[in-house]
Amino acid sequence: MPSRHESASNAGTYPRSASAAPMPGWVKIFGVIYLIAVAIFAAMHFAGGGIGYLDHGDMQGHAAAAEHGQHRP
């Protein structure tokens, strides 16, 4: 049987009671950074990079070469 202090300090134990509060500052900062990261990822993806390399570009030539077992120095 864990003590009250032990159970409170362990990860995964029940949270402490807290009254309803406005959104904390760290959540706002996290949200802004998250949106910026998503925007950067989307910009990279739609600018022709990202996973698009699979659909067109230099991947197809190598796929054909791989099928024929060609070795390129």
């Binding site: 995964g12 309803a20 760290w26 996973i51 390399y53 699979l54 796929a63 070469a65 099928e67």
Partner: protein, 185 residues
């Protein structure tokens, strides 16, 4: 819906093990991706991409899916809940896109390994894809480190849903207390 303490601890232990393992596997993947990008040794480059494919399919993906699954179980089956605390919600919005991107990248990693197995890659070959693998592996590792920090620090803050649930628990209405009593196990 809550679990017994022993079961809860077990679920949390499994979640920590697979999550840390996931981060470690991604770190190894990033190391191989960097080696494949910058190494002048052709044999090392080929070996790196072949090892990346194997590591990705056998270690990274199973651990990633297990981490997501055990995280969902650990949150839903305890008082933490999935949508009650901002830190849990933040981990969720980090983990789900990371898992989706991880699954989407099976094909590029496989193609890269196939090309490395069949051809002698020069430093210019597939440079875009090689850079992409390094960037995405680095971003994935950063996401996993942030998720680990969130789990460790558990920054305070309840969502509206969490505040409402807390209010219901502290001041239960007769009908709400009957419902809660009926569903608890």
């Amino acid at each position: 819906m809550t679990m017994a303490l022993d079961l809860r601890k077990f679920a949390l232990t499994v979640h920590v093990i697979v999550s840390v393992g996931w981060a470690g596997a991604v770190a190894a993947f990033l190391t191989l991706a960097v080696a494949g990008l910058v190494s002048p040794d052709i044999q090392l480059v080929r070996a790196s991409y072949l090892a990346m494919d194997l590591t990705y399919r056998i270690v990274v993906i199973p651990l990633g899916l297990a981490s997501l699954g055990t995280g969902l179980v650990s949150s839903l089956a305890t008082e933490w809940g999935l949508l009650r605390h901002y830190w849990v919600l933040a981990k969720l919005v980090l983990s789900i896109p990371a898992a989706i991107l991880m699954l989407v990248h099976v094909q590029p990693v496989g193609h890269m390994a196939g090309a490395a197995a069949a051809t002698m890659l020069s430093s210019d070959d597939l440079s875009g894809l090689r850079i992409q693998l390094v960037l995405y592996a680095g971003a994935a590792l950063l996401v996993l480190l942030v998720a680990t920090a969130l789990s460790t620090y558990k920054p305070r803050g309840r969502t509206r849903h969490g505040a409402r649930k807390l209010e219901q628990r502290n001041h239960p209405t007769p009908s709400a207390s009957q419902t809660a009593g009926a569903t608890r196990w």
